[in-house]
């Protein structure tokens, strides 16, 4: 058992599941989406990115790329959320929420790619 692989697998999967938890629910209803869910997804995704720093394999580079995409999308979602909550007169509404959820959906896709890559790598190793 490779401990490094365990740690990375844990974080990449956790990032995907947390993001999924945040994403699920009606896009236009802010009460269905918790800001802490988004925060947790962002933090875990950042950690997964850092864990791929300095990996010289081809797959490691792709992992780094996909998790950087997820980070970028989640940060954008967080910025939109903050702006909608504090910077607009009406506060968070369904319109803003759908933008946040779109961003997180994109991140979820990137997370999905990471997980698929990881599973693929594991399967090819078993062969």
């Amino acid at each position: 058992m490779n401990f490094e692989k365990v740690i990375f697998g844990f974080f990449i999967t956790l990032a995907a599941t947390l993001n999924f938890g945040f994403f699920i629910g009606d896009m236009t209803r802010p009460e269905l989406h918790n800001v802490y869910g988004l925060g947790a997804a962002l933090v875990v995704s950042l950690i997964a990115t850092v864990l791929k720093f300095g990996d010289r394999t081809q797959l490691g580079a792709v992992h780094l790329a996909t998790s950087l995409v997820a980070d970028l999308q989640l940060i954008a979602a967080a910025v939109i959320w903050t702006w909608a909550s504090y910077g607009t007169p009406g506060g968070m509404d369904g319109n803003h929420m759908s933008q946040v959820i779109s961003m997180s959906a994109g991140a979820l896709m990137a997370n999905g790619v990471s997980v698929v890559l990881m599973v693929g790598e594991t399967l090819s190793l078993r062969r």
């Binding site: 802490y36 950690i47 300095g54």
Partner: protein
Amino acid sequence: MAPASTRGGDHRSAFTNVLYLFLRRMRFPLVLIIVLYTITVVGLSMMPGIDADGNPTPGMGLFLAFYVISYTGTTIGFGELPFPYSTAQRLWMTLSIYLTVLGWSYSVVTVLSLVQEPAFMNALKAGRFARRINQLREPFYLVCGCGETGTLVCHGLDRLGFRFVVVEQNPARLQELRLEDFRSDAPMIVADAAQPGTLISAGLTSPWCRGVMALAVDDETNRAIAVTVRLLAPKVPVLARIGSAEGGNQMGAFGGDMVINPFERFARYLAAAVVAPESYRLREILTGLPGDDWPEEHRPPGGHWVMCGYGRFGHMIREELCGAGLTMTVIDRLHYGEPGVDIQGTGVDAASLRAAGIEHSTGIVTGNANDLKNLAIAITARELKPDLFVVTRQNQNSNAPLFKAFEHDLAMVPSRIVAREFLALITTPLLARFLAAIPNRDEAWCTALIKRLARVNRHRVPEVWSVKLASSQAEALRGALVAGHRLTAGTLLTDPYERAHRTRGVLLMVARGSQVFPLPDHDFQLQRGDELLFAGSEQARRRIDLVATNENVLNYVRGARDGAGGWLWQWLEDRRNARTKAGDGAS
């Protein structure tokens, strides 16, 4: 590791090595900071606050908490924003301050320790070295190993105005070399030159690499360097110093005469100095460093000689001198009993020297590996017979003052011999062909040439350089030859400022394919593709260069007519030149 196919790729990979190393080591500190920030931000966002009237409010939320922790964690600290805090918030902030400072300082310490680590420093240095080689856009030489010989070679190259790159395995020695004064800033690196990768990153495959000199301590490394160069850069000349005789033979397959055994060289020179002193002297002058003092005249006498020390050097000397028709008595203690050793002893004491027949000898060679022993023998021998011709072997450069104080007749410094030969041969490959032709000539020929050389550079060692007629180095000559003009050796040696005079230079040789014409006279007809070897003062070199590159000057020295003066004339001239060039390019 990815194969480095190009030099650019190699230098990039050295840089990415450093980057990857850095990122890999920063993983844990970065994750730690992210985790600490998460804990503190989430905690602070949920801590109940208090408003201006003292009423409890819900937490400040994730964004504001992140804002507060960001300025606290980086120790900027604006105070309690946006509202004064409640006790619960202050408690949590206290914890947060310590946690974030801990995380940051750990990261900083990690970065510092990484920067100080030798492996990281080496990676960084290798990257910088490769980048500098990559940026080198002028001819340079690769010097592998910078012991005494290497240092001498570097100084020689520096004086001749060439760039060089140094590869040395011993960091202490490289440090010493860094302290030496060089006009150019030479890239130097601590690395094993026997590794092909090292030579490639040092610029072996660069189009600007003009030659490699293998001067490492052990023969094995030098042999490896020679093989690497032969295979990776077949056009780059390589000179290797090989101490042992067998090594020399093995090298033959790779580089022919490009191997120098200092002992064998000196022995041969000494024999040559006895048999043909003038040709020896000529060789000394031509391989000397330009601008040095004119070498002293040595005339080792024939007759009976005494040799102290019968190691590799002793064997060579005995072989060569006996071959030259001299008789010799060998004194040695360690090798006594071997064929060739006549007297058991060191030579330091008068008794063993007397036993060797010092009274009726004409010369003595002190050939031990120990400098003080050599000097002791020399002094004893001098006392016994004041008119003895004394040849000393000096091993360490640091003992030079001692040898200078002793009035010896000939000092053999192996490192200097190798350095001079290497320099002369690698900077002027044509010179090797000329030197090879010398032994076929008689003494009178050599004497005459020495006299001419002494005249051209006012009793200083002359510069020796070559000019290739078909190259861009001699634009005007090429043009004239293409146009079918008659060019003689005398044309080139005419003073470009006053054509009635001659430039103070000597045309040593013209090489035409595999043919050589030593010392051609002034009517010698030059052809396309000829390579000329000149010797003369620096001034002469400039003047000959001027004739070779400037068409107007060439016309003037040919006596055709004066160069174009007015602008209209110049314009016509330029058009004609352009046409000539175009014709040249097409042909």
